[in-house]
Amino acid sequence: MLAARSRAASISRSRRVRYAEVIFGVVLLALPFIASDVFLIDRFGRYFTWAIFAISVDLIWGFGGVLTFGHAAFFGASGYLVAIFTERAGWFLPLPLWPAIGLAVLCVAMFAFLLSTLAFRGPYPMRGVELAVITLAVAYLLEQYARAGGQITGGQNGILFGERLELFGLDMHRGRGFYWLAGIALVVVYVLVRVFVNRRIGLVVRGIRENEDRVDLLGYDVPSIKIEVFTLSAALAAFGGAFFYVHEGIITPAAVGVAASTQVLLWVALGGRGTLLGPIIGTVVLQHLTATLSGTMLDTWIFVIGALLIVVVVVFPAGVLGFLDRGPAR
């Protein structure tokens, strides 16, 4: 009887999240048909690429418990690599856009693999704040390099993209085309990560978040699992970053910096870490509010957003979706 009641409560919680998933999906599907403002639709496409970034952070932080202050290094580095691969000449360059995106994601994943191997399997395996500081340092160094990188990175001015997002001859670079391209990319990433976390490996990753030592003492090779998740997370960030910066048409040093890395943490925390859908909602809602309010409340919008964030974090410490999923945070 007790087991049945407890199971029913658990199912009811997951149903609430499922409803949120459906409602959010229907709204986003309907948006390009309802809205006539192409600029607004295009803006939602940008939110989707950011949401991919947020999912990548949710995977490593929300599920794996590894706090990173430098994930924009992967999101932005991918943009820089695509720009270099498509805009610079020499050796095998320039590359067409899509191979450049693939190669950029691969390079970022390899860099993340090396970084995480050093961090998790090095002579002094890192945890918690130590790793957060390392990722912070990587973002800071990359930003400084991007500013000083001259011919390669374009220095303070960055690099302008000449390529446009096209697929099977269709223009996906702006407006509805970009909305659908970014939307499909987001759905693919969402489903991929949802499948990953629902598999056995996902449970182990959540176990590492809860109690890394106990996972080790159940016989799992914790560093290997953390390296795998960190690399996957960086590759997803790179995937989102590639689309975002090609669409923007320019990449500048701020793309790989600390500010962009902390902004994504807000989206994830607001939506609910460890929920996948929460970070998407957090990104879309917060960025849309920022864009709308900054146009109407020229001097005060930042205070309104700040106050709203504080209220939401106080009322929903586990994030909005975390509240729906698990109830009030303990």
């Binding site: 087991a3 407890s6 658990s10 959540r206 176990g207 159940l218 016989g219």
Partner: protein, 242 residues
């Protein structure tokens, strides 16, 4: 009896402090070994050396004839060591059933696929069937201890190490724990058990053999009656005739 574990001349020092000094003993198949001693005697350090949390300063530990002295903890677990702590180490925000799944599905010993029936049987054994969908942090301390034991047993350990398993348990729970320890060995669920415990009644109920530690060394070994009449034990702990 066949020795599962051979501990030879093992020492562990922290700077100038020798926490475990020149300890040697065997753990045999079918035995429950009690490890007793006062606080600071080196019992927990010795357990930490056995499961690989601490590196040996000197000596060697063999498991089923293979030297495991340099293996990290997770590889020792894969060989068949299971460790249950005094302070529970369950996964607080995961469900009770998910905690058990993590134990059941671990890689390395042919138990990759966690069978629901196996988990149901374990829930029944540890008395948590009614709470299987609860979050682990909502359980009482005693229930969390049972959950941890269930999780570790699902890894199918050959050697089970228990650090003060009755800590925080009621008398009836301690009796149930003693019964479980005996059954695990007699029913050959595990091949041997080592229990660190201050509760001498519990040690008397479960142990075939007792190792007494004092100031980092083993000063006596035998049945509980034998060690209670051992002169070195009397000198170390009682200073009077038992």
């Amino acid at each position: 009896m066949t020795a599962i574990v051979e501990v030879r001349e093992v020492s562990k020092s922290f700077g100038g402090f020798m926490a475990v000094h020149d300890v040697s003993f065997d753990l045999s198949e079918g035995e429950v070994t009690g490890l007793v001693g006062s606080n600071g005697a080196g019992k927990t350090t010795l357990l930490n050396l056995l499961y690989g949390r601490l590196e040996l300063s000197e000596g060697r530990i063999s498991f089923d004839g293979s030297d495991i002295s340099d293996l990290p903890a997770h590889q020792r677990v894969r060989r068949g060591l299971g460790m249950v702590f005094q302070h529970t180490t369950v996964f607080p925000e995961l469900g009770v059933r998910e905690n058990l799944r993590l134990g059941a599905m671990r890689k390395g010993r042919g138990t990759d696929a966690s069978s629901p029936a196996e988990i149901d049987a374990m829930l029944e054994m540890i008395g948590l069937t009614a709470k299987q969908y609860d979050i682990a942090s909502k359980l009482s301390h005693g229930e969390q201890q049972w959950l941890e034991i269930g999780m570790v047993l699902l890894t199918k350990p050959a050697l089970l190490l228990l650090d003060e398993p009755t800590s925080g348990m009621t008398r009836s729970e301690a009796a149930r724990m003693a019964d479980l320890c005996r059954r695990l060995v007699t029913e050959r669920t595990v091949r041997a058990v080592v229990v660190v415990e201050h509760n001498i009644d519990f040690i008397r109920r479960v142990s075939n053999r007792v190792l007494v530690m004092h100031r980092g060394t083993i000063i006596a070994s035998g049945t509980i009656d034998e060690v209670q009449h051992d002169q070195a034990v009397r000198d170390a702990f009682l200073g009077r005739t038992v």
